[in-house]
Symmetry: D2
Subunit: 346 residues, 4 copies
């Protein structure tokens, strides 16, 4: 019957990124806690937040080893996933079954696409990670240490051993409010899959407000289809880029395609004195800043906000090739994406 039919209607702030040739760009936050470890939000509400924040997919990854609410709350490592999956189906949020293996040494790891978190819980970190792999999990090194005490290597031998045995394949380059430039370059060198995640414990809106962020950090997944299998295939193939604080981090071929697909160049217009001008539009909700490279020093940056256009004068030559560095698209920790735009005047 129709009672209260639309009462639960909710509005969502979409985060538009155009799809590419053959890929959907899925917006994912794959590191999230609930009341079932040290979070303060019930699992169903994590799905509501994700919907509201414009995400396609989340993973609930409660700690196996840390459950500080156990005076009041039953310890059940699968509870987060079990409780949230109904509302996820209703809201069309892809919910990935996950867990966090939390060891002082060699660190914290997320296991995604697992079957039973309880079987993974193990005092021996290696056995835990092996069990996750046995369940078909994709395993990620969380918030890698950038500063290692006593002059130790940041990529210490325990990690190296796990990585050589192919027991983990991904690495976070951003977590909560911390960026790991060394991990970003390492991921590019070693062909590891890149992740950017909130590791959120409190409410999404409070997290954003406390850190003065406009949007959640996300892993943008270039998936062949919008499904959990689609995400898994893309993670294994390494087709992800990190997004946080309006900056994109990833392999040049991926971020370049993403940027170029978001930009549209308009027709060239002439005023009565045959001066030429051209417009450039950003169709996406990611703002871009273009710094001119081969032009005169006094040229200003082009700030292309979400869904904004810009217009600027063209030189008098019949063909112009303008080069820009995209301020907020990183292809290595110390290198920005460069692009060339060609304008042919009639």
């Amino acid at each position: 019957m129709l009672i209260a039919l639309v009462t639960h209607s909710q509005t969502r702030k979409n985060f538009y990124i155009p799809d590419l040739n053959g890929y959907r760009i899925l917006k994912c936050d794959l590191h999230i806690h609930t009341t079932f470890s040290d979070g303060v939000v019930w699992p169903t509400e994590r799905v509501e937040e994700a919907w509201n924040d414009g995400l396609d997919a989340i993973a609930i990854t409660d700690h196996l080893e840390y459950t500080p609410h156990s005076n009041y709350l039953k310890v059940d490592h699968n509870a987060g996933y079990d409780i949230a999956k109904g509302i996820a189906a209703q809201k069309d949020i892809l919910l990935i079954h996950g867990t966090e293996i939390t060891k002082k040494m060699p660190g914290h790891f997320n296991a995604l696409f697992i079957k039973d978190a309880t079987k993974i819980a193990n005092d021996d970190y290696k056995k835990a990670i092996e069990e996750a792999n046995k369940q078909g999990a994709f395993v990620i090194l969380n918030h890698p240490r950038e500063a290692v005490p006593n002059g130790g290597e940041w990529w210490y031998k325990e990690l190296d051993e796990l990585f050589r045995e192919n027991l983990f394949q991904g690495i976070e380059i951003f977590n909560w409010n911390d960026y790991y430039p060394r991990a970003f370059d390492w991921a590019l060198n070693k062909n590891m899959t890149i992740f950017s995640a909130t590791d959120i414990h409190n409410e999404s809106a409070l997290y954003l407000s406390q850190l003065h962020m406009a949007r959640r950090p996300m892993t943008l997944v270039f998936a062949r289809e919008r499904s959990i299998d689609g995400i898994k295939e893309a993670l294994i193939a390494g087709r992800t880029v990190g997004f946080f604080r309006n900056v994109i981090y990833g392999k040049e071929e991926l971020v370049k395609e993403l940027f170029l697909k978001s930009i549209q160049i308009g027709k060239i217009h002439h005023d009565i004195s045959r001066n030429a001008s051209v417009s450039i539009s950003n169709t996406s909700d990611i703002p871009y800043i273009l710094n001119p490279m081969n032009q005169d020093k006094s040229s200003a940056s082009i700030q292309l906000g979400a869904k904004e256009s810009a217009i600027f004068a063209l030189p008098s030559d019949s063909t112009s090739i303008l080069e820009y560095e995209v301020e907020n698209v990183m292809i290595r920790s110390n290198e920005k994406l460069k692009i060339k735009l060609t304008f042919i005047k009639d």
Copy 2:
């Protein structure tokens, strides 16, 4: 040469409305003053404002009869158009040559697509309007009086005479901050072309801030092409709707197509108990509010902000037809657009 090439780059806030089958929706403000009558903005800056405000076309329509700055400024009725047309070409803003014929009786009229405003200036209102028509102008009755003193008819005989002789074809239903519901119904009855305009004298941003408006009032023109000729053809054919304060006013067939083209219905999702829900997205920058009609009284409105989505539960029947009244789309002064959405569950 390249000096200061991008120095003049500017960013524009786009106002997205999807194009329809066969029509571009052009955003026009066709009633604008400059320093050359009683405005306080130089003609070139009217083009900059238009670009910034996301408009496609403007008409500069300075008063022929009122030039209060003439102590300092030369009286030249074509100066607004002449001065602004260079920058308009450069910015790809369609600039329509216009003028305002400003008589106590029978009122104020805008003439668009004129050739020479000086020839239109005439103490005899009828001769002025006839000359405008002779130049091929499209003529519009501005801010029609809603309250007529001494019990007179609001559609007085002088107007009627001009209208019967086909000397004007359009009517403003909104001007500055005033809405004329009687003019709206009259336009629908008499098949007059509908206009909504700022009649702006001060700066666009001050106008918007003083009247607490988010966007300028506009005439949305359903044009076969984005050109001055395209606009003229559409005005003659009566294919316009008025837009102001986030409300749309027009013929049912036009506004319905506009609304339906902006809305996308998502796939139906089921949770594990087979409860169904569906999402609805607004692809445009016009917000819409849908009030449920055949549903339970307690059902809430769906508020679909610009580029937002909503989600809501569906009744358990296999086929649902939900009816809504669109709060902010008017097809007569006292009647809102009604729509039916059909949802078929698999």
Copy 3:
């Protein structure tokens, strides 16, 4: 030691309302649920939300009779208060120990300032309410029914009996997204204390976004001091007004003082032709809209946004008394606050 000293710094969006002569205006939400009944937010996070939302005080009022998470969570009616009080002290949020007595008949009641919720739990509604009163509680009728089936009285005899026996003293005139005009007038007639509350179950930010609200509904308490005792004294004395969706509801003497204290009239200025104008400033974060009463019909409303000023021309008389109706200050369900402003020209 200093480790991570400022790591947990957080910024708060203040909601400024000036204090009155002798009273602090405390911003309170006194109807809130947590995971310990049917809410989805852990008690500590309710305090974080309150701080972030600019509140002074909250009451956690979980249902005694409805604990749907009990498969996972221990049933403990005092848990919400016990868990949250530490963080409340740290954040200087006044946390009131409360509970909700939830009966089909005669309805739902909140008991505030209780000592032990467990003792209040009772199948007999009257015994439950009596126990709350015995603990010194202030008791409130929640979301009173506006539509009563079968033509029954909305103020039915069970309520009347409880009220005559002084077992409850307050009434909600706003709850979640529903306004009860009949309850508002009733409260004024019967001298009951007025409440406006969220009755929030989900996250504060999601609640606000789903209902398109800028701020939480609040009870504004006119307290002699900023303390739990200060609030209790004010509730007993009936010194509260309701606030929601930027509208204020209350006794004329309270809302008038609140309004007048927020407004500052500037000096009168003259231009060179001796025309006079005056500015009016809103020092508070509550926007106000003033509709002119004794002036010309064409006079526009004055929209005084948060912290905004307005300026307007004065009549040429040496003394002007201008009358306004304050659009968003209600002193009965069908009556707005009227004010007179006197301007003396020198």
Copy 4:
């Protein structure tokens, strides 16, 4: 009579900065063009913009030597001031009579508080500046060259000569969108009065939008009274600081007083384990960012937005002195303001 009395009411977005002991902080933009030189805004509208943008005072400083609209507009160097002064009186905007002396060499100078611009016009730059001084003007070097061709000195001998003869006393450290760090240090060394100005030619709102600024650049004047004389006295005494893009530039004693007056430290609160926390509030509309200095490296910055509060944990010692560098308050081009806050626990 009362006709249209409130029709012209307008609302203003205030920019709150607290007054100091003995000084009003006046918000001034003292470099503005109109249609009477190469601007595109009529003089009256410059006053409307100023009122809307929350300014106290402006100077209209049209070029004496450059009047590109003279085909249409009478050349009258006092017209800007004469036309705008009526509306300035009505709106209580302090309007300073000014002009810009515009020479290729030794540069551009603004003369404020002049009596007759026509008499200042002179092909000989020195005679022009001398005449301005004779009229009692305060003279400012505009947009000083930072890059001088052919390895020349930026503070070339013609400037030096004028300065030694005390023919100008102020210098712009910010103009339009350009910051001159060398001029800032020079002003501090030579005890010149600091200015930050828009040099605006187009509309204020378009200027702000094109440059992605939230507010206009301003000179903040520490005046003994809110009057034109009050401003003149403060300029002569050197009591100004520059403000642009949310950064403040000035002498340490002035900016420190400004900052400390804007900040309020709350009471220290303890939770049940005697952990202490404290709140800090920004009462002004200038956001501040505080970077911790003597604390642990991992301590985060405190971002205190306009009218926001922050809260943070205190160390366990009974007295804490915390040191911060204020990220956006500059006391030299390469030095930020440092402050110490002392917290005494009871």
